[in-house]
Amino acid sequence: MSVPTLRFNEVSKAFPGVKALSNVSFDVCSGEALALIGANGAGKSTLMNILGGNIQPDSGGVLIEGRNVAISSPQDSINNGIGFVHQEIALMLTMTIAENLFINSYQTTSIGLLARNLMEEQCKTVLESLNCHLSPRTQVKHLGSGDQQMVEIARALLMNPRILILDEPTSSLTGKEKSRLFDAVAVLKSKGVAIIYITHFLDEVFPVCDRAVVLRNGEYVGGDTIENLTYTDIVTLMIGESDTDVYYSRDQHSVSESLNLRVKNLSRSGVLKEIQMDLHKGEILGLWGLLGSGRTEFIRSLVGLDPNDTYDVEIREEKRMVPLYKRKASKYFGYITENRREDGMLLPSSILDNMSLANLRSYLSAGPFMNDEKIKVESKKYIKKLDIKISNVDQPAGTLSGGNQQKVIVGKWLQRAPMILLMDEPTRGLDVGAKRDMHQIINDFVQSGSSVLLVTSDIDELMNMSDRIAVIDRGSITGMYPQGVSKEDLMAAASGFAKGDKE
């Protein structure tokens, strides 16, 4: 075999309290897409961050085309022909698409000034090649997270990388974008680019990738060409158990007749149009829509984080429905945001501090003083219940892997046990095992008489978990479907071509 494009050689990395990688070695070849698979916290992002120059390994190194290369900064990484699409979106929100694309490789005119037109043209070309029709002058903050993800990919492509890392590129994409992305991957492969593809969606691995490599607890535990692997093989390698029952199928439904919440009219000019809906006790209401359809905006408005033109909402108080005033909203709602790192956590604070954050009032002992013992006991209970992998409760939350961070956030709200839990993409970035856990947790939660409003871009998850599904399109609810509706109906309704039977 010829020299591989990229070789990880005995890479090890330890963080205080955790061995994130130990002696990981494998190759990636030109023109292949390699799936890098592993449970949450297995070390995938750490390994990629080493390649990206964001983290230095403790020992071992990286060989590119047989040569040892030192990558000590993101700039080094780029110079070595490595393109990186990050798990967390890394764009300048107030700059235009074109500016973001050329952020580290500006084109200049002969007198050294920026060649704006040239860049915008190239930008358009790259975006078109991804089947993405956006104006290069649009500010990135006006894009939904799906389009933002495409911009990131476009940026990586612009540098004609030899090696392209895609760290969970589809976690915020819906069907259409996904297939666009897969097309792009195929094109790149044919151009001889080596692609490392990290994902928790195992069903994507088989059509897209040529080979899979599995990490578990920081160790290389196996890998093979995709033809020689089955779904079960991969899961077994990942989890390390022969028992690979990773599906949680929700069968208990305990929707009650009485309501927890009634939204009579929620409007905000240009964004939300007269939204109406009911939420029953014990119900999981799925919210389906295309990227940028306004799901997040709806939830933020409901919780009272954004201004509204009309806020006409009723909530159950004892046995009656009473009007809900916006400033009281946070008393009834729990809110899991889609941006974990930006507004979900206190990254430098301890796990304990994070988990008690939403529920501090109920841990008061006397006057304004906290009962720290109770916080510890309660939080530990949920750490155990949610199977959060930590080294100790005082560990800073920022050092947890993405999946475990998400569990900490969920744990924070479960402690509070709000009447209504609003979950925006709660399983994004979670591995199959953790996803199953999360589903179980959501189900248990509604059993107690609370309700959940679930936003997810994973249509299977949506259909499996929801009691009813509301479809939102351009800021208004265009359909309400019972459980068991077909995927096709949902897709159609979301794009404004509803034909299915409405409730």
């Binding site: 920081g218 390390g240 158990e241 984080l305 979900g344 206190l346 990254l347 008061l364």
Partner: protein
């Protein structure tokens, strides 16, 4: 096969970490010993009490700004808030007000100006630096206007005694400072407001989403700062037995900020304790006290002060990187 979780929690004492996190205490000890060795006059009970007494008023203002720093903000208005409180109280006493009235005025004026800052920053989302700078300028204008003729002497003996008297050999101001440091520490560590404050400083979005009334928390932090500026004016005016607009010059901010920073209170928000801040105040006061004792020239004092601050910040940033 079982899931293996790697865990390497070293139980042995981590000296480096211990050293870095307690840098201000250690520095205090070192500076103390060094000065004591170099300056014969220094290590007398009287001088030590002297230093403590000199730090008292500054300490109050530093406890005040600590809350603001924890939220990631800054309060540049403290000097003129302090001066204005003192001037109004002194004017009231000149017109026959008693000590209770004077104290009330000092505290309420401080609180009121703090609330203005806090409202602009918390509710109108204006930028702390500029809001408090404007209040500093406006406050200074009012001070000059009020006092234009003279600095106002204070002759109310009860007042002077209550805030610059002594119990035995201990100045009461030191006792007040110790007490308020204790109160602030307990509130920061044990109360829900303390938790809210730190959470807001670390990530205001997360805090808001988690149902913390962040706007009120910001309001409260600046109100607290104003309140302590008002209390500091009691100590200062009674110490100088007069009130004047010169008390409120911007230069004071320098000492406040240096003390907080040297005491390990972070500018970026989310870190620091009132206790640390007060230790920082002691260090800053010690520096000028010992420089005076050693008869070091004015410009050297400036240079040394600058170097001390920068050294501490350096330590601080190392601490944060770990």
């Amino acid at each position: 096969m079982d899931r293996i979780v790697f865990r390497r929690v070293s139980k042995s004492v981590n000296w480096k970490k211990l050293l870095i996190t307690n840098s201000s205490v250690i520095a205090l000890a070192i500076i103390f010993c060094w000065i004591a060795l170099v300056t014969p006059g220094f290590f007398t009970t009287r001088n030590i009490i002297n230093v403590l007494n000199q730090s008292a008023a500054l300490g109050f203002m530093v406890i005040g700004i600590t809350a603001v720093f924890i939220t990631g903000g800054i309060d540049l208005s403290i000097p003129s808030v302090m001066a204005l409180s003192g001037i109004l109280a002194a004017m009231a006493m000149q017109n026959g007000a008693g000590i209770m009235m004077a104290v009330l005025i000092s505290i309420l004026v401080g609180l009121f100006l703090g609330l203005i800052n806090g409202y602009a920053i918390g509710f109108l989302r204006m930028i702390p630096f500029v809001v408090t700078l404007s209040i500093q300028i406006i406050g200074m204008g009012i001070c000059v206007w009020l006092t234009s003729k003279v600095s106002i002497p204070i002759s109310n003996g009860t007042y002077l005694n209550a805030f610059s008297g002594k119990i035995g050999i201990i100045p009461v101001s030191v006792i007040y400072l110790a007490f308020m440091t204790f109160v602030a520490t307990v509130l920061a560590k044990k109360s829900i407001w303390g938790r809210w404050l730190y959470a807001t400083g670390i990530n205001i979005n997360t805090a808001t989403v988690s149902g913390i009334p962040t706007r009120k928390v910001l309001l409260g932090a600046y109100a607290w700062s104003g309140l302590f500026a008002g209390m500091a004016s009691l100590l200062i005016t009674s110490r100088l037995a007069s009130a004047s607009s010169t008390m409120g010059q911007e230069g004071v901010v320098l000492n406040i900020v240096s003390s907080a920073v040297v005491g390990g209170v972070s500018f970026q928000g989310g870190f620091g304790t009132p206790m640390g801040a007060v230790l920082g105040t002691l260090i800053i006061t010690l520096i000028s006290n010992s420089m005076n004792m050693m008869q070091i020239s004015y410009y050297m004092t400036l240079i040394v002060k600058g170097i001390v601050i920068i050294t501490f910040v350096c330590l601080d940033s190392i601490r944060h990187r770990n």
